[in-house]
């Protein structure tokens, strides 16, 4: 993306050509291509109902993936997100939101749980500089354990959820299911935070080269801490939407989801080593996964073969990226 160019627009020496634009938005090009193919191949695919269906299904993945994009751009992994989402869902349902008061408490409780996980990760990885992969695997276990203890490892549910809260998951605005709006708002806010704030630029600098970022006076630890808090917050928002939608939850819900999220973020072009990535790319990655999943379901491909195809897509996408970059440089 244009992250390095926006810092000082006067350093830009060459005008962007169409080829540049295409190269930097490969994932969107692929997405458009796939959508065209699928529209031609299936009568059902490009119908408003099906498109809305896809958008609703991917909104959870999308919200969490946008959060993880922040951590990844800052140069750290957040593998806790699935467990965090599960914890937030469990907190909301366990607090039995049946009236306005309890609903407010439940939502705030869910958000706080996500923020808290983010703070713990952020302090460990950002401030104390532990390895992010292993640390967030550790906190994944810890958060999952807390969820299990909190629910006594039992399936929990809420009967008669406060209707406005339930609407967040099940309601519609016109033809659009509300979770889509949650996804869209998260995406817009995330995009703005990355591209139009000082924090966003600090985050790219931190992920790109943390030593030089530190020498330029950026508080690298704090930037990473904030990125983890945003990641935890996004996971919590997704958890609340899920709770509102299904109103019952299995205590192991969310564990394993982090890998789906990671796949979407990486497909979207965010670097594993930090410093590169964008919300727009992540949204495209999420859409691509959603569209392909939907198409495979429409074609009647079983879950197990969808898994195999997903594995191939992930590796192929990254391999193609590596090969293209190698040829260029």
């Amino acid at each position: 993306m244009t992250d390095t160019l926006t810092v000082r627009s006067d350093v830009r020496v060459r005008r962007q050509t169409l080829a540049d634009l295409l190269r930097e938005n490969v994932i969107w090009a692929v997405l458009v291509f796939v959508v065209i193919i699928l529209s031609l191949a299936s009568d059902v695919f490009l119908t408003p109902l099906n498109i809305l269906n896809i958008l609703r299904q991917i909104s959870i993945l999308g919200i969490v993936a946008i959060g993880m994009t922040f951590a990844m751009i800052g140069g750290s992994f957040d593998l806790t997100v699935g467990a965090t989402m599960g914890l937030a869902t469990v907190v909301v349902i366990q607090l039995q939101p049946v009236d306005p008061q309890s609903a407010a408490v439940a939502v705030v409780g869910g958000l706080l749980a996500g923020l808290l996980v983010g703070v713990v990760n952020g302090v460990l990885v950002g401030r104390l500089e532990t390895n992010s992969v292993v640390t967030t695997i550790g906190t994944l276990y810890a958060v999952w354990g807390i969820t299990l203890i909190y629910t006594k490892a039992r399936h929990i549910w809420v009967v008669g959820m406060y209707p406005p809260l339930a609407a967040l998951g099940t309601g519609r605005l016109g033809p659009f299911p509300l979770p889509i709006f949650a996804f869209a708002i998260t995406a817009v806010l995330g995009h703005l935070a990355l591209t139009a704030t000082r924090f966003g630029r600090y985050l790219y600098a931190t992920g790109g080269n943390s030593a030089s970022a530190r020498l330029s006076g950026i508080n690298v630890g704090r930037v990473r801490l904030v990125s983890y808090m945003l990641s935890g917050l996004a996971a919590a928002i997704a958890g609340i939407v899920i709770a509102a939608r299904v109103q019952n939850v299995d205590p192991s819900f969310g564990v394993g989801f982090e890998f789906d999220v990671l796949a979407a973020v990486i497909l979207g072009g965010t670097s594993l080593f930090g410093g590169r990535g964008s919300v727009l790319g992540t949204v495209a990655g999420v859409l691509l996964l959603g569209v392909l999943g939907n198409a495979m379901t429409l074609m009647g491909i079983s879950y197990q073969f969808q898994l195999m195809i997903r594995g191939i897509i992930l590796v192929a996408a990254v391999a193609a990226n590596v090969i293209v970059r190698r040829r260029r440089g």
């Binding site: 460990l124 104390l128 500089e129 532990t130 390895n131 992969v133 292993v134 640390t135 695997i137 550790g138 906190t139 994944l140 276990y141 810890a142 958060v143 999952w144 354990g145 807390i146 299990l148 203890i149 490892a153 943390s210 030593a211 530190r214 020498l215 394993g256 890998f259 990671l262 796949a263 990486i266 594993l272 079983s302 879950y303 197990q304 073969f305 969808q306 898994l307 195999m308 195809i309 997903r310 594995g311 191939i312 992930l314 590796v315 990254v318 391999a319 590596v322 090969i323 190698r326």
Partner: protein, 322 residues
């Protein structure tokens, strides 16, 4: 003198944790220190332990293999599913072969294509899981060969076969890693890939070997697990990569490559095994083990960080990075 003690304590920290756990478990439960229970512990840790041996190699080369859990499932499904058609020996051999092939594919993706191991093995995790679910139509298969069902627990000199396989594999690999030129190469590749290549090491061969070995050990673990439960299940092994990686890192192998040992891995796997067994014996619910395992992992990372900071204070001041 005080410094020397400190040094010893720091270096043998996992062994100390292991001893503390062992003593605590003995004191808290009468059933812990019995021959039968210790055999149990050994059988329980054998599957993950075998895989941890392979994983140690991969992590020493600064890589990681997330696909091991799926390979466990695929191997168990092949070993049990083909029993009626080919007999157990042939089906188990095919399972091992499948593991080897997957490992080579992982290795080729990492070396020839240049895909980050985290991603290539994550893709392989999804792919192989789908394959295992696909060939079984998502249903577990019951074993039909009684000899196969007893394989893992057959006592050899009083020790269950699965544990014997684990310990022998560990000793052989420990020797290779520590005392052969070839074994030292893994450390070289892990600590500085480019320098190793420039000094004439066949870097790609080392990486291929590490990934092939890991998937092979995962298949071996899968077969022994299938034997123990006499079932080939496409859904087993979901948390295998996390448990195995925890054990390896607990044992002091560095996630950034170039340092580690199989003795450490043995200690790590025993810590996890005794922790889980001890907590089961005193009646702590399973889910507390999840939380303890997580906190343990975080503490290890913090400790390593602190320890590294002391060792490399000078370098830290220069680069601001570890």
């Amino acid at each position: 003198m005080l410094n020397r003690w400190r040094q010893i304590i720091l270096e043998q920290r996992v062994l100390l944790v292991l001893l503390v756990l062992f003593v605590a478990a003995t004191l808290l439960s009468e059933d812990f220190l019995t021959g039968r229970n210790l055999q149990n512990v050994l059988t329980q840790v054998a599957t993950d332990g075998i895989i941890a041996v392979g994983m140690t190699f991969v992590i020493i080369t600064a890589g990681v293999d997330l696909s091991v859990g799926s390979v466990v499932a695929l191997a168990s499904v092949i070993a049990v599913g083909l029993q009626p058609h080919t007999g157990s020996v042939a089906s188990s051999s095919l399972a091992l072969l499948a593991g080897l092939v997957i490992g080579l594919m992982n290795g080729l993706l990492v070396t020839k294509v240049g895909v980050n191991p985290f991603i290539s093995t994550l893709g392989m995790l999804t792919f192989v899981r789908g394959l295992a679910l696909g060939v079984t139509d998502t249903r577990p298969i019951s074993g039909t060969d009684p000899a196969f069902a007893e394989l893992a627990t057959t006592p050899v000199l009083g020790i269950p076969l699965a544990a014997v396989v684990f310990l022998v594999l560990l000793l052989v690999c420990h020797y290779i890693l520590r005392s052969t030129t070839w074994g030292r190469g893994f450390f070289a590749v892990g600590s500085n890939l480019e320098a190793s290549w420039l000094s004439g090491l066949k870097v790609d061969t080392y990486l291929l070997a590490a990934y092939a070995l890991t998937s092979f050990t995962a298949a071996l673990g899968g077969i022994l697990l299938a034997s123990r439960i006499n079932t080939g299940s496409p859904v087993v092994g979901e948390d295998t990569p996390l448990v195995v990686i925890t054990a390896v890192l607990l044992g002091g192998t560095s996630f950034t490559g170039g340092a580690g040992s199989l003795v450490g891995t043995l200690q790590g796997i025993l810590v996890l095994g005794i922790l889980s067994n001890g907590m089961n014996l005193i009646g702590v619910p399973d889910f507390y083990q999840t939380i303890v395992r997580g906190i343990l992992l975080v503490l290890v990372m913090l400790f390593d960080r602190y320890y590294v900071t002391h060792k490399n204070r000078f370098r830290l001041q220069i680069t601001g990075e570890a």
